[in-house]
Amino acid sequence: MKDYLKRQQKLFTEAQQQRLEELNIMIAGTGGLGTNQALQLQRIGVNKIYLYDYDQVEVTNLNRQLCYGKNDIGRSKVEAAAEFLEQFDLATEITARNERITLETAVPADVDIIFDGLDNFESRFLLDQLAAKNEIAFIHAGIEEFFAQIMLVLPESKLRLKDVFAGSEKQKNPAVFSPAVTVTASIQVLEALKYLLGFDDYLENQLLHIDLLSSQMELIDLK
């Protein structure tokens, strides 16, 4: 076990901790959710993080996208995010892929799960199809104002994102801000870990609904 992970040792069995340190994660979209996911996953000591985005940093990103500052405006998001994460000199390998995700994207063969860090449902439906095609687990999150939802889609799952969220496509830019985005990304990381490390309870055919105004999380059964 890496020396800086000692304080989380009691949370996991030895086998779980070893598995955790072997995990390879693909983050699709390094915006609000994606940068928060990357920070958490690096801190807990996963083996490798692949960052995917094709966009450049804009000033309106800075209220929630934690890997960027004013000096990064105009830079490639994945390059700026990788540089930010690497400055901590932790063991997790960071790989930046400056490309748009399509159905033809070559998902690295060692990826254990794909994290949804996107900001619209059209792209998410495509990402979910890519995960299904590659038989890789996929964890969705969406955040808007004080509300969020998280859904884990297993490789063998017949219930895909579009089965639940058909009709969710919208034109307008949703309102998003840092505390709600960070909470959502953190729960997304936790839910993914529960599945990947073999905990008894994880989200299976359920949607986790998060209401930060009422301070409530609820499970919605899906079919």
């Binding site: 104002e145 969020a148 089965d163 496509e169 998003v176």
Partner: protein, 94 residues
């Protein structure tokens, strides 16, 4: 047994309730259910769930027992006592 309608997100905040239950003797369509809800909530659901032409509005989710009505008979899908209808605007941002 009753027909349960559950509200989430802004629907719950705006209406100050987690949902309602109706005793329905015969099955009703989602269109008819929206009319019932409108009577109880001052036209709120037609405004939130439907476009002006009466089709399902983009950016809202209607689940019946965990299934999206887009994959059933849309607004003509029938529900009855014992069913659970979940209504919420999904969060799209990131």
């Amino acid at each position: 047994m009753a027909l349960k309608v559950k509200f989430y997100s802004l629907f719950r905040i705006n209406l100050k309730t987690k949902g309602v239950e109706y005793e329905v003797e015969e099955s009703i369509t989602i269109t008819e259910l929206i009319k019932k809800l409108d009577q109880d909530f001052d036209g709120y659901f037609t405004q939130k769930l439907l476009e002006e032409d009466g089709t399902i509005a983009r950016g809202t989710i209607i689940l019946i027992n965990g299934k999206n009505i887009f994959h059933l008979d849309k607004l003509e899908t029938k529900v009855s006592d014992g069913d659970v209808v979940t209504l919420f605007p999904p969060s799209a941002g990131g």
